[in-house]
Every structure is written in C-alpha cells, then in structure tokens.
Symmetry: D3
Subunit: 164 residues, 6 copies
C-alpha cells in the first residue's frame, strides 16, 4: 500500500489544486493533503479556514485525508509514514523551484521522493494569488475555485473593505 | 480603426518603455498608455507624477493618450473599447508571467487579446527597478530614462535622504 | 491601413495556426499568410499543397491572402509592403528562438517589427510535427487539423506506406 | 494494484535511467520499462540489444518487466493496461518537451496520466547521447552506464572503426 | 596580475559559495570576496558577522581578501581596481537575472566584465535562504554551511525564539 | 601564469565570437582558440579554412593562439596544459546545454573548470548558423562577421550555386 502527500499552502484551494489532487488520488492508495505553514507569506485565510475549505472541496474523493503541519516537509513525510510527495507543475518557473525543493528534500530525508504532475491545460494560469488578485479588483472568480471557496473569498472581501 | 492599450506601472517610465510605446503607436491607430494600480508594489512616484512624466515623455507621439486605472485590465480594456493590449518582453522570466496574464485575461474577457513586442537589444536589462537601484547607489541614470524623469528621480532622492 | 504578415512552413496547417491567424486578422486591416521556404527541413507537403490547404482552411476570413516566398522574411516583408510580422508562441522554447529571429530581422530591416500572440491553452501542445508523428503511429488527428488537412495527411500516409 | 510504464529509447540505458527506474519501481506495484521505437532518431543499438541490456541491468528489481513497442505511447499504455507513465526530468529543456508530450498524450487517451521524477544531482548531465559522444572521442564511460553496457559500447566502437 | 571580485550578500556563506570562491581563487591571482549591501533584503546577520564568518571560512585560501561595500558593484570594482566579477550560477532562474546584471554593469562601467562559474552538482539546491528555512523548521544544516556558520545560525535561532 | 581555452566549431567565426575572445584574452595570460571537431554537424568550411579565418581575424590580439583538435575537450585541455575553458552565452537555451557540458567535463577531468561570459547585447542574436542562413537567402552579412570571413562566405555561395 502506497501513501502519497500533496503539500501546499492552499490559500485558498483552486480548481487547479483539485485537479492535481484527484489525479494523485487515482495513482496512490491513500493521499494526505497537507496544509503547510509558510512563514514567508502572510496568508489570507487562517489554517482552520484552509483545512475546512479543503474538507468541503475534497469530500468526493474517498482515499484523501486533510492535515496541517508547521514542520519541514522532509520531517512531516517521515512522521506520517508517506512514500512520496506529489506536486503540480504549471510552468517552467514552477519547475525550477520545485526541482530544487525535490533535491533538498532528498538530502534531508533519503527515503523521500517527489513526483510531479503537469497542470491541465485549462489551469495553467491558475494560482491562489491570481484568484485573490482578480477578486480584489472586482473580477469574477466563478469556475476558478470551488463554490464554497468563492463564497468565502467574497465574504472576506466584504469584511476587509476590499483588501485581500 | 484599431485601438491598443499599453498597461504598466511606469514607476518611472524608462527608455525601454518609450521604445515599446513608439513601436506600438506605429502599429495601431490609437494607443492608450495606462498607468495601472498595483496593490502589491509600493510605488516611488504617485499616480499623478507617473501620468505627468508619461505626458512629458510621449508628447512627440500624436496618436497616444495617457490614462490611469485601478481596475482589472480585462475590465478597463472593455470600458475604453480597446481591441488589444500591448506588452514588451525583455527576457524569458517576463515571458512566462506575461503568458499566464494573457491567458487569464482572455478567460476574464473573451474579446481581449494581447500582443507582445520584444525589447530592443540595448534595453534588455532596463527596468524601473534597475533605474531606482542604480540611482539609490549613486550611479548615473542618464540615457536610461527621459531627461524629465532623471530630474525627478534625483529630486526624490534628495528629498528622501537617499531612500528610493 | 496596416498590413501584417504571418509567416510559417505550415506543413501542414494546424488548428493552432488557424487560431493565431484568426486573431491576427482581427487586429490588422489585411493579413498575408506566407508559406516560407525552409531549406533546413524536408517538407511532407509540396509548396502547392500547403498553399492549397491554407486557402481551403482560411476561406472564412475575408481580409486574408495566402502567398509563398523563398526569400528572407526581412526582404519579403519589404517587397509586399507589410508593416509587421505576427508569430504565435506556444512555449518558452519557441519564445527564445523567436526573440532572436525578431532581433535579427530588425537588424536586417530597420522598418520591420514583429508582434507575438500566445497560443490558446488548448493548442499549447499542437505543432505540425506532433500531427505528423501522431498520424504516423496510427493515432487520431481529428480536431488537431482542419478536415481538409486530415484527409490529405491520411492519403499521404497511404501513398507512402506509413512514412511521413 | 497500480502499474506504471517507463518509456524511452534507452540507446543505451544509462545510470541515470536506472536511478529513475529504481525509484519508480518503489512507488508502483509493477513497472513496465518500454523500449519505444523512435522514427526520427537512428539508433546505435538494435531493439533486441537495447532490450537485452535493460534485462541485464534491471535484474535486481523484481517488479519490473521490459517490453518493446512501435506504437504511440497513448495506445500502448491502454494495451498493457498501465495506469500512468513515469518520466525522468534532468533539466528545463527536458521539462518543456515532456510537458507538451504529457498534454498531447492526455488528449489522445483521457485515461492516461504522466508523473515526473527529477534526476538525481549526480545524473543531471547524463544522457545516452553524452555517453556515445564521450566514448566516440576516446573518453572513459565507466560509472556512466552499467558494466554490461560499457562492454557493448566499446565493442560497437571497435566494430565500426570509431563511428557511433 | 589579475584581480577578481566575488560579490554577494553571504547571509550566511554556504558550502556552495565556498566552492565557487575556491575555484575562482584558482583562476585569478587575487580574489576579493565582497559583502555587498542589499537594501531590498533584510539580512539575518549584521555586516560585521557576515565578514567574520567569511574570514573564518576562507582562511585556507591565501590569495583571498574579504571586504564590505555599500556602493554599486560597477563603482566598487573600479575603486578596488579589480579586473572582473565572478558569480556562481545554480540554475536558469539565476542565470537570467545575472545576465541582466552583467549587461547593466557593463553599461555603467565599460571596463567591467563578469565571468560565471556553474555550481557543483551537489550544491545546485543550496542557497542562504534554503539554509535559513531548513534551520527555522528544525532541520539539520550540517554539511550545508561551514561549522562556524552552523554554530552561529543555531545561536541566532535560540536568541530569536525560532524566527530567522 | 594562467592559460584559458576557447573551444568552438567557428564555422565561420562571427563578430560575437571575436568579442568573447577579446574579452577572454584580457582576463587570462594566454588564450588558446581551439577549433573542435564536431562529428554531428556537417561543416561548411574545412578545418584548414576555419583555422585560417581565425588567424586573420585574431591577428590584433597578441596573447592568442589558434589550434585544432578532434579530441574530447576534457582531454585536450589536459594536453595543452590549460587552466580553464571559456564559453560565451547568448541566451537561456545556450546556458542549459553549456551547464551540462561544464558538469560532464568536470566529471571527465577533475582539474578542468569552465567560465562563462555573456554575449554583448548587440550579438545576442548572432550565431554561425544565422550568418549562413542570411547569406543563403541573399541577405547582407556585413558587420556580422569579419571582412575576410564575409568574402569567403560569398565565394562559397557562388561556388555551390547558393547551397550553404
């Protein structure tokens, strides 16, 4: 039985993330979707909100669990006994950074490997940042994120007077 | 009659921007140069200052107008009834980001298209950030920006005690 | 009135080319689609066949004409009095080569400029080579090329015993 | 139970391929290593020789089988009932080509997905072409390929009078 | 006699920097390792600390001196009468930025040239940021930095309660 | 005393090569310009012709010698007792290939290092292939190559009836 982990900040989860998660869940017996703490980026949504949106959005994929971690991925993967990390690649700039992360993670944990899936063609421009930027400037984000996320982004926008 | 729009933050306008604007103005009947609000970057010059420097620097190109917008480009282009956005590409890193922007803009506005011009060879290293960095460290920016911009950058430098 | 030229080898024309041509035809008053001779590549279809397939595939775009040239693009553009070349970019590797071509063309003809359009997301993997490779290995090319091209590729495949 | 396929021309198999195959075999229940016919490249070794070298080099990995195919990968994967293709990425240039292949393969076979592994740091410069070039110019290929491959490359070199 | 300069922020110096410095010191008669002020990045270590760590880490390379500068590199190189700047490249993203820096530096100082060395394969994922991130999340940085740097990073981590 | 080697096929030498050679000759005590045999590419000019054109074009740089080799660069550099190879980089695509070559060369010869210079901005689109393509299609190559090379390219063009 193989367990994979799909790490990210998911601030918020997009349709691009969900496509990668569905495909990863089809390849491995169990998939852990892990909200990773990122000290460098201020997040729009709290950890609890991000985990909640993932739970709502992934309810249709039975072999998936959602977790939170503030550890190094190389340590967390050992702790949860996962076999491999799964990352989605949208474009070249993603690729280089992810390539370096995969190498350093193997240096930190020789048992750990990373596999990459390529973003579906219709999601290649889609990221959490793009969603927040579009919403902030009054654009429509329907179809870019799950419905439950769309509602929460718009509510956040109301509460903060337009600052995301 | 075709109207193009050349969006940017122009903080400040450089000789590289002016080359792209001149070439775009030769290709389309009317060119709107649009100072776009960017919530992510603190600007050195105010909106009014950036528009003023563009007006002074573009006076020699008759079919050009300067505007300001704090909207999504995909919405602004619809509002001013433009046919196409024009962007300059200096290098690969520009390219990938612009590629994604062009795709998301078409998703937000099916009528909108983006064309790219390549920076002239002598401007491939030139950006507003480079100009500010060179000025801040006491380097000479003559020839990198129009004369009216050079004066304003140096004045700003005096007023802020060297912080740009 | 602005005339643009869309050069290529079109061996054969794909749905990706047609998308770029339609969008370019919407931006300029007249569009010349030019089958350029490429001494480095053996072509599958003769010049006459490639021009014919373009004529059939572009009949719905009134401001487009199809031509053939064995000259340098920088010279041909001068000869037909065009204002600008239009190229489609699918990916980074395209970009760098096209960037260099745009610079050398300006060196050879100071009046000549090149604008780039980005391939639609569903065409980013599509090229004449991919179409020929898929057909040769028995895959289905429906939807990748216009119907008239699909017929000709399959007929060529029969006539050559599978070698494309 | 998940079956993966690792396609390539393996002309000849290198230590870089073997590292990818070992890691892929650890992630999936069964791994098919498939020598794919490539009409564009003249191969140094015959199909039989390439399959034989793989069999010798992979004898230590029990859940691996070696096959040959002259079909489209998207069709072959359906035929052998595999769940996913696995490819190694050494560098950016690999990445872009593989990205496009992954997209076209999904277009040709909606059930097919591709995962990527990054080459180990010590194999990032290693390819079948590099091995052949080094051998041809009299350099030492020990450690770049398995011992059984090294012998065959050197023998081939003798037989052809140095032309590889 | 040729003098080279190796500029950086060295916050802190890593084994990757030391490899580049050793190789550069073998190519030129004298090597100045210059801690450059970077107004855009908050540094973890003070200038004095960074210079001290370099002095300790480079004691085994006789033709190397360590200096600090808050000038433009193009001016500093003139001041110290160096012939050339030396930079290490880890990956493509480095390359593009460094390429632009090399061009603008030649524009600012026609006498100045830049040479690049490629990072050793085992250091391609290694940067000062990676070291700080790994340490902050409780990972082990032994072997990524010199011993004297490792001690200082861990001490800094204790003093700041984990914030680096 | 440091000796550098600048390897290439120089088929023919361009103004871009000469700029790199002049700058390399200023950085090292002695520079060997080495015409390397490339079995993969058919050359337009014979070895003797390429060496002769280099001798004529580099006569103004006293510390330069021209040589020919059909060995592996890693072996040739050892034979001539050079300290380092120097390569010019025009663009990203160059970079990745050269990066891999630098790594494999260090694997083949631990004493060998490679330094890179960036092409001057006005030479970024210039290569031997571009020169031959422009000449073949009747374009003007004045200023792209030294005068003695221009004459030889045109003469070759006459003799071969336009095939280069």
């Amino acid at each position: 039985m193989k367990t994979a982990i799909c790490p990210g900040s998911f601030d918020p989860v997009t349709m691009g993330h969900i496509d990668i998660i569905e495909r990863a869940a089809a390849l491995f017996d169990k998939l852990i979707v892990a909200v990773m703490h990122n000290s460098k980026k201020m997040s729009l949504f709290s950890t609890t909100e991000r985990v909640e949106m993932l739970l709502l959005s992934l309810a249709h994929i039975p072999n998936t669990v959602v977790m939170y971690s503030d550890k190094l991925l190389a340590d967390f993967i050992r702790e949860v006994n996962a076999d491999v990390a799964v990352k989605g690649l949208r474009a070249m700039s993603d690729f280089e950074q992810e390539f370096q992360m995969a190498l350093i993670n193997r240096r930190l944990n020789r048992q750990m490997d990373t596999v990459f899936l390529t973003a579906a063609e219709q999601h290649q421009y889609l990221s959490s940042s793009v969603v927040k930027e579009v919403a902030r400037l009054g654009g429509c984000i329907t179809g870019l994120v799950p419905v439950c996320v769309e509602e929460r982004v718009l509510r956040k926008l109301c509460n903060t007077g337009g600052a995301l």
